[in-house]
């Protein structure tokens, strides 16, 4: 019973990660003209996101029309209208807000231009857009839990290192993780505290966990980010517990230092979802134009990294600086 559930989840996860495409339009989307209505450049993350999309388009030979909406919906709407007027093959919209898109999306539909939503959601009728591509914290939590369920055969007493209380990264990762472990009777979070996303915080909280509980009864530590987990591994080592062995570890972010820890056998896995939504969005456009039906939601590429590739990943990620 338990294993059936587990395999379903794993299947879903695998299906989400592996993309499939074919036919009339070349797979890369070469030669297409695509309009991209971006929210703006309000944060470093947003800027990195825009740059990734632009670079991806260039690599694929897609003619990308980029519009910076300066965080205003009216700017984005007029950008879409101008894309329509220019007769683009498809439009990618990263909406600044969820509501108020029906009219302009209807105009695109009337002109038979497909629209792919990226990042945030829209409330417009499902018929007006092709699919939505997003990378989100909830999904990271789900992946982490799915791996842990697999590694422990769904039987694990987990201590949780939360991120800063009230931050969306902490709330969403927790939600995704809990959704999955709820499916397993013997997976349970036995202790949870906030480590504020910092190494010191992670170490201090883990110390108190080890003080409050017999370390032998802890099966795994689940940290909302890698920094807290690194702090926690130090606390475990100092308490004579072998992280990665006595207590399994799972965390999110894939920062270089976690690969170092994994290559030294002190950590088991880290989750990363790529911030590049350009690739999946272009793939979705191509798939649609080739007549495929798309699901409501397409997650971005990424996944879980394990110790086997850790040394190599560490080399790759820390070498770049």
């Amino acid at each position: 019973m338990r294993f059936t559930k587990l395999s379903i989840i794993l299947l879903v996860v695998v299906a989400l990660i592996v993309p499939t495409t074919f036919a009339q339009v070349p797979e890369s989307g070469e030669g297409l003209t695509i309009g991209f209505a971006q929210v703006g450049s309000e944060s470093a993350w947003r800027t990195a996101f825009s740059e990734a999309v632009i670079a991806e388009a260039e690599e694929r030979g897609i003619n990308l029309l980029f519009s910076d909406g300066q965080q205003r919906q009216e700017n984005q709407i007029s950008a879409i209208r101008s894309f329509i007027a220019q007769g683009v093959d498809a439009i990618i919209l990263a909406p600044v807000v969820e509501t108020g898109w029906d009219e302009v999306l209807q105009e695109a539909a009337d002109n038979e231009i497909p629209v792919v939503i990226v990042d945030r959601n829209v409330t417009a009728d499902r018929s007006l857009w092709v699919t939505r591509v997003s990378s989100d914290f909830v999904h990271e939590g789900r992946l982490a839990a799915a791996w842990l369920a697999q590694a422990t055969a769904g039987d694990c007493a987990i201590v949780e290192l939360q991120g800063t209380v009230g931050s969306s990264a902490a709330l969403d990762r927790q939600q995704g993780f809990n959704e999955v472990i709820a499916l397993f009777d013997n997976m349970e979070i036995v202790l949870t505290q906030s480590g504020d996303f910092t190494r010191t915080g992670g170490k201090e909280v883990m110390e108190s966990f080890l003080n409050t509980m017999d370390p032998a009864e802890i099966c795994a530590v689940w940290a909302h980010n890698d920094d807290m987990l690194i702090g926690a591994t130090q606390a475990m080592e100092e308490a004579g517990v072998d992280p990665g062995d006595d207590i399994l570890t799972i965390s999110v972010d894939a920062i270089p230092d976690i690969f170092l820890a994994m290559s030294e056998g002190k950590a088991n896995a880290t989750v990363e979802l790529s911030p590049n939504m350009g690739g999946p969005a272009f793939d979705a456009v191509v798939a649609y134009l080739n007549g495929e039906t798309l699901p409501d939601w397409v997650p971005v590429a990424g996944g879980i990294y394990f110790p086997d590739t850790a040394a190599e990943e560490y080399e790759r990620r820390s070498g770049g600086e």
Partner: protein, 350 residues
């Protein structure tokens, strides 16, 4: 010294005890520890694992070490009627300096540690010059470094968490001598040195004089500027030591988060210890008690199993109670109601 001298003279009585200014902070600390014991039954347990002493009480001392150090420096600054908001940022800078030096150069780690302490002293010198010689209000003068300091630390670490593998530097945070972690030795050493420096020389008296009446002190020939400079430099050095401990503890310098908001904990510790923000008389030992009170609350919360959403609220409420206990108004109110209650009960039984 002056904080301990008062009670003996008038013989022992509960009243003279509660009037001693050392009583309430120590009483509050014991109360909080007892409270922790109720929440976590093995709170007072101490065991030896692999030649090292373990237990929640030790955890309080180790985890409290940075704030204890900061509170020592902060006490001196506050006694001069100043305040040092920059200590959190100095923690980040000193940690970054030490970590980057040992990880990217072949420098002797002891020298790296000394350089890092020197950088802390320089930060204090900067604050002190702004306050003492340019007459900039302390809160503004130290705000400058508070804001810019983390930026400086990020420049030093290149925006990353600067990790290192040097065992000597790591020893500062996690080393063990005779079963006890090294940070505890640092705290004791700094406390003893500062105590000797302020109470066995004239520095303590001159600090109190400058803090209590700047103008009269000037008329009496005290060089107030030098005294202030001393206090800020001492605070900078204490912050650098705290930064070394925090950095060594996680074997990495986290410019963004190391010592974040600790300046506020340090100020709170000084206030709990009874040193007035208006300057003048100061009580080093009680500031340390204040720092331990704050850490006991935090450790207690971590071990209580309460959802983390409550952390800050619980901390705030407990600290508020500690401060209220020390307020004369509240104490008078309590003793009055107790007396009234007693009177009523006597009336009923009669």
């Amino acid at each position: 010294m002056s904080e301990m001298t008062q009670p003996a003279e008038r013989g022992f009585s509960l009243q003279s005890l509660t009037r001693n200014r050392a009583f309430w902070p120590i009483f509050a600390l014991l109360l909080i520890l007892l409270g922790n014991r109720l929440i976590a039954p093995d709170f007072f347990n101490i065991e030896v694992v692999e030649g090292r002493i373990f237990g929640s009480l030790i955890v309080i001392l180790i985890r409290g070490a940075p704030v204890v150090l900061l509170s020592i420096g902060m006490t001196l600054v506050i006694a001069t009627k100043g305040i040092d908001l920059s200590v959190g940022a100095v923690i980040a800078i000193s940690g970054a300096v030490a970590a980057v030096l040992v990880s990217t150069t072949d420098i002797n780690p002891i020298l790296a540690i000394l350089i890092s302490i020197g950088v802390g002293a320089l930060c204090g010198l900067w604050n002190g010059i702004l306050v003492a010689y340019f007459n900039i209000q302390p809160i503004v003068a130290t705000l400058i470094l508070m804001v810019s300091g983390r930026g400086i630390a990020q420049l030093i670490t290149n925006g990353q968490i600067a990790i290192f593998n040097d065992e000597t530097l790591a020893f500062v945070g996690t080393g063990v001598i005779a079963g006890i972690q090294f940070p505890i030795y640092i705290c004791i050493a700094v406390f003893v040195i500062v105590m000797l420096l302020v109470r066995r020389t004239a520095i303590g008296l001159l600090i109190e004089s400058v803090g209590a009446n700047d103008r009269a002190s000037y008329y009496a020939g005290i060089k107030a500027a030098q005294i202030k400079l001393f206090a800020y430099v001492a605070s900078g050095i204490c912050a650098a030591l705290a930064g070394l401990i925090l950095t060594a503890d996680i074997k990495g310098a986290d410019a963004n988060n190391a010592g974040l908001w600790l300046e506020l904990d340090a100020i709170l510790a000084v206030v709990i210890g009874g040193t007035s923000l208006d300057g003048g008389r100061f009580f080093l030992g009680l500031s340390v008690i204040g720092a331990l009170i704050i850490q006991s609350v935090e450790t207690g919360i971590l071990q209580s199993g309460l959802p983390p959403t409550f952390n800050l609220v619980v901390k705030a409420i407990v600290i508020l109670i500690v401060l209220l206990l020390q307020s004369d108004v509240v104490r008078r109110w309590i003793s009055n109601s107790v007396n009234r209650l007693r009177g009523q009960m006597r009336g009923q039984t009669a």
